[in-house]
């Protein structure tokens, strides 16, 4: 696996991350909007203009492919390159998460008026 090759796609934006995740199974645009909102627990709501632009640029950078057309709808799915990028992003998120969780000072009982998790 040529890491240098996928580095230019990273880090993924939050929106792109959920779009790629929603395209692990082939989907049309509106289904991606709905799924992104659902799997992100409502933290990512994509508007159609933003999603259209994202799908176009993801297709251009070959992270997703056009799988089929259904009437006027285009069905996209994640490519092998897209999966590689997504897995690498998840690995990096894991490193971030583990390093933060292991930092005890961050979790000390709401010391400096911090938010409760």
């Amino acid at each position: 696996m040529a890491m240098g090759n996928i580095d230019r796609h990273l880090p993924l934006t939050e929106a792109t991350f959920y779009i790629l995740l929603a395209l692990v199974t082939p989907n049309h645009g509106y289904a991606v909007m709905q799924q992104a909102e659902e799997i992100s627990q409502g933290t990512v709501r994509l508007a159609p203009g933003t999603l259209y632009g994202a799908l176009t640029s993801l297709e251009q950078s070959r992270l997703i492919n056009l799988a089929a057309t259904e009437g006027r709808r285009k069905i996209y799915q994640i490519s092998e390159l897209g999966k590689t990028v997504l897995r690498e992003q998840i690995r990096r998120y894991q490193i971030m998460l583990e390093s933060a969780v292991r930092n005890p000072e961050l979790w000390e009982a709401n010391s400096a008026g911090g938010e409760q998790l």
Binding site: H28, Y30, R45, A47, P48, G49, Y52, G71, R73
Partner: protein, 180 residues
């Protein structure tokens, strides 16, 4: 009640598209709903129940095939496509509740819209610069007409250059907003 139609001409600058959206929403509050748009900014309204609508203008240069899937996505997401004015695409949807629906959910993709306009002008500008001298030299209409064409051509060119500057300023403004 017999439905009435009204046609209005109004000029908007590309970098002021939000003013146009606000004006269309204001017309809807008064019961005038945009029905179609004709070239040069001629708006056709139909009278109906006053209502709260949000109007949004997108800008795209799309191939027919891409346009179908693009419009379908907007329709699936609840936006009604009213019509186009050259590369401008007009959408509307009713406002339910306090949240104003948007066609762009982040600042970056909103900025991309203005970037597409800049690219559009950047492609048109050299074509105009190259075509104007050939118009000047065309003597079919006599020297007087030539002078008029020359003046008009130059004014148009200045207008394009001004538009470019204003769009670049708009992009800078939006970038600043996203940082603040």
């Amino acid at each position: 009640m017999k439905q009435r139609l009204v046609t209005k001409f109004k000029w908007f600058w590309a970098w002021d598209d939000e003013k146009e959206e606000a004006w269309l929403a204001d017309m809807a509050v008064k019961g005038w709903h945009l029905e179609s748009i004709s070239p040069f900014g001629i708006y056709h309204f139909q009278q109906g129940e006053p209502g709260n609508f949000v109007y949004r203008l997108d800008f795209h240069i799309l191939k027919n095939r891409d346009k179908d899937s693009y419009l379908q996505l907007f329709e699936d997401a609840g936006w009604e496509h009213i019509g186009d004015l050259s590369s401008w695409v007009y959408f509307r949807r009713p406002i339910n509740g306090s949240q104003i629906p948007e066609i762009y959910s982040d600042q970056e993709s909103k900025i991309d819209k203005y970037r597409r306009m800049i690219i559009y002008l950047a492609i048109l500008l050299p074509i105009m610069v190259l075509s104007i001298p050939s118009v000047y030299r065309a003597d079919y209409f006599g020297p007087a007409a030539s002078t008029i064409l020359e003046t008009l051509g130059t004014l148009l060119l200045l207008l394009f250059a001004y538009g470019m500057v204003m769009l670049i300023r708009r992009v800078a403004q939006l970038k600043k907003q996203s940082k603040g």
